[in-house]
Symmetry: C2
């Protein structure tokens, strides 16, 4: 029996409070462990479904954005509670659709519900409102100053595109949705086609929370669709005022282009691609090269390397310890068991990326993990090695290979390292391994690292993104389409807000948060 049978999945689009089957073709999830299709199939939406969801979102906006902090926080908490209540049924469906082991899904579910509750706290705290008051100065010369008060208001309905690799934390009730709902923006999610059942389960929890809290139905809709038809229709709908996206560079850039070509361009927050370079400095190599090598493999194989922050490029300054570093990494990697990747499509793209590196001039394989015979979509980990000179001649070696693949680059000197880092594209993260004797070199590199990445890690690993107040999951283009923001952590709410000033409003007109009384 399919694990979904007990929880009544229907394969419907969830548009406002309703549910109905899309008529633009259908898809079914595939269990990547076995290659077998999962029930039910999902009817896909089209432009008319986007329009309907957008109309409802627009109609909901003015009511939803003025809900009290208590109501909105209660709503977010109810979504978290609903997901926790699904528990094992949800976890089983995620595992069936993505091959992610139940233990990891359990962690991701906790992260997702903690994130929703954290945004509930943010809403209650009220700092997100950005309230500023410049009181009137009627006696000022030469001219009196009027009373001016400012707050941030939500931009309007937001479109969210789910990611394949975090079916909970970056999907239907993930960070983009949580931060947009916290900001007071209705959300229309385009589900990722590789985990539609998970999406429906989560979507129904949100839909129920909307109803239970007496909110207008258009606060949330969930659409299924393949290709770019539904996505482009969403981004170009005039009622949509911002977009959150996590996925490929080509997908992100297509949405950015569509958003810019609108009569009224809108912001797109696309988190696209990053190889998360790791730099191992000489003293660290000398002192603990082998240890760093083993830790690299542990980081690059988390989630089969299918993380935005997976370390895909490692620079080691040539000298004592490099051989031990590479040998230990290679040894550790050879013992890595293959596991199913998220989908056959991702597995194929990974295999092509590995083949590109394998056949590149001057690149050698340091090690490969177990092959994974008998798994439908196995991800075989790969570790490659090259020199800085080769990397300079072939910038394509910098391109992300989504999966457990990493390229170790030996660099001749710290000076050469500096030039190489200066030539890198923008990244989500940059990591330094540095011992005390490396600190001077590290200090000199730091301003450059700040210009290239949204997060700098020292003596740790980029995988594992904390959901807190100080987190920046962002970075210069092409890591994201907007380096001024983060898609993880409480500051993510700022993406969906804009400031409005109110000049000389009588008390009866002043909006909540700016009136003297409350």
């Amino acid at each position: 029996m399919s694990p979904t049978a007990t929880i009544g999945l229907t394969g419907d689009l969830l548009v406002g409070g309703g549910a109905y089957r899309g008529t633009h073709g259908e898809i079914a999830a595939v269990d990547p462990r076995t290659g077998r299709e999962l029930q039910p199939s999902y009817g896909l939406g089209g432009p008319e479904d986007v329009r309907r969801a957008a109309e409802l979102a627009e109609a909901a906006f003015d009511t939803y954005r003025e809900t009290t902090p208590a109501v909105r926080a209660g709503f977010l908490t109810a979504i978290a509670d609903g997901l926790d209540a699904l528990g094992d049924e949800l976890i089983a469906r995620v595992t069936a659709e993505t091959g992610i082991p139940a233990a990891r899904v359990t962690g991701e579910l906790a992260r997702t519900t903690n994130q929703l509750r954290l945004f509930a706290d943010v809403v209650r705290d009220g700092g997100w409102l950005g309230a500023r008051i410049d009181p009137a100065l009627p006696e000022r010369t030469p001219l009196p100053r009027p009373d001016i008060r400012r707050r941030l208001v939500p931009v309007g309905p937001v479109a969210v595109f789910s990611a394949s690799n975090f079916p909970l934390a970056f999907s239907v009730a993930g960070g983009d949705t949580a931060s947009a709902l916290a900001a007071g923006a209705p959300v229309i999610v385009k589900a990722h086609s590789s985990h539609p059942g998970t999406s429906e389960l989560v979507g129904r929890v949100i839909q129920r929370a909307v109803a239970d809290h007496g909110l207008p139905e258009g606060v949330f809709s969930l659409l299924f669709g393949t290709g770019r038809e539904v996505g482009i229709a969403l981004v170009t709908d005039p009622r949509i005022k911002a977009v959150g996206f996590t996925g490929s560079r080509s997908g992100g850039l297509a949405l950015v282009a569509a958003a810019q070509a609108r009569p009224e361009p809108i912001p797109v927050y696309a988190e696209m691609s990053s190889v998360n370079p790791v730099i191992v400095l000489p003293a660290a190599l000398r002192g603990r090269g082998a240890e760093i090598g083993r830790a690299l493999v542990a980081s690059m194989t988390v989630g089969q390397g299918q993380l935005c922050t997976s370390p895909g490029l490692v620079f080691a300054v040539d000298g004592p310890g490099v051989a031990e570093f590479v040998a230990a990494a290679a040894e550790a990697l050879r013992a890595v068991p293959a596991a199913p990747m998220l989908s056959a499509g991702i597995q194929q793209a990974f295999a092509e990326g590995v083949e590109r590196l394998r056949s590149a001039t001057g690149v050698e394989i340091a090690a490969a993990g177990e092959a994974g015979d008998g798994i439908a979509a196995p991800g075989q980990a790969h570790l490659f090695r090259t020199t800085n000179a080769e990397l300079r001649d072939n910038p394509a070696l910098q391109e992300e290979v989504f999966g457990a693949s990493s390229l170790i680059v030996t660099v001749n000197s710290a000076d050469e390292l500096r030039d190489t880092v200066a030539g890198l594209e923008g990244q989500l993260t940059l990591t330094l391994h540095a011992d005390d004797a490396d600190l001077e070199v590290a200090r000199a590199l730091l301003p450059l690292l700040e210009r290239k990445a949204g997060r700098i890690v020292v003596n740790g690993w980029p995988t594992g993104v904390e959901v807190g107040h100080a987190m920046v999951h962002g970075g210069p283009f092409p890591a994201t389409s907007d380096s001024r923001t983060t898609s993880v952590g409480t500051a993510a709410i700022e993406r969906f807000l804009r400031p409005v000033a109110y000049q000389n409003l009588p008390a009866g007109l002043l909006p909540a948060g700016l009136d003297d009384g409350r």
Copy 2:
């Protein structure tokens, strides 16, 4: 004798600490009161000058951005002091180049230097740093939390395009420059060609302040150029990371397109066009129609209507008081003396805009001001009148006519008003005139106004933009290219900053503002 002779204007480009004549043609300012050319002529820059300025800015960036708050605040204050010290010589040159009366220029100079000093306070205060610290939780289960700290860092060198209408407050040392320098970003200004002497005077003050404070010379450069060659070269230079612009919609959109087409797209903060609609509700009309009419004329003719916030569109709900409102406005307008506009080009565009309204179907002239015989570039104020039905049929009537022109639109009912406001483009400001009996209608309109404008004014006028903490001089497209920001007030600094997170940095590497000790 030319007023410039005593203060040694040279007509040079100011590139870093140097000054030399551009070789791509030349321009001279023209006194719009007389049509006479002013000395000296200015040699125009080209792509090689942009490259040189950008190289210097890039070289200056890492040093400048880590200057202490005291140094940076002292630098901003020194610019303000230097401008104040120029005093009458500066004011005379501004008046000669723009026709703006000395009394107004005096006010604009005070606003400009106050703005620089306000940003010095902002820098000292440190809130702009956006510091957030999530301390390590080594005992947390299942995984310990690392130490994560965040701060905002400047995006990199910034290009600023001066405006014609505020030769001080929105020009070389205006709000864009002040906020970018406060953020720690080097600035390259493209001067506006209609006030090059003013630009050189201000530029030399900044150049001297850079030297006096021991800052790298590339912190500031000033370029002259016509057409779009220098502008596009600036926006597409890979070292430039953000753009501030105040000017026309076509000019702003061209810069946005160029910035988006870069290999690494960058943000453009373009403040472009707005007709700043004013809505007069029934009770206000009934009670004080004539008074509002006279006040409208006072607002629309400030600075000959050459303000971004000039009220160009007025909606009046038909009924008691409308006739008095229009009659009083017309009477006041007929008495408005003509004065020189900023330049012959602006005067010609104004005349064309007036002609477009005059010849539009269903639009009648309510009144015209004095013609201004004997002035080289006279701006003759115009008040037009039409109905909501005509406006609906001809959306071009909403387009900005830069200068003292305003169109009164009578609307049949508050419901009709709502639909009309919903159809407006994004605006810098929206203004309501409302008496007590109007408050219910006003309250119902407010959410719509918030979606259409960056600032909402009640029973006042949009002209007069306070430089404070709560000001929002921004608004939805096409008022600006980025509704999430303001170009006036202390929040303008946020445009030139982006967040960076630091994970587990040892004390010796933590940047200023995030270390525990300081």
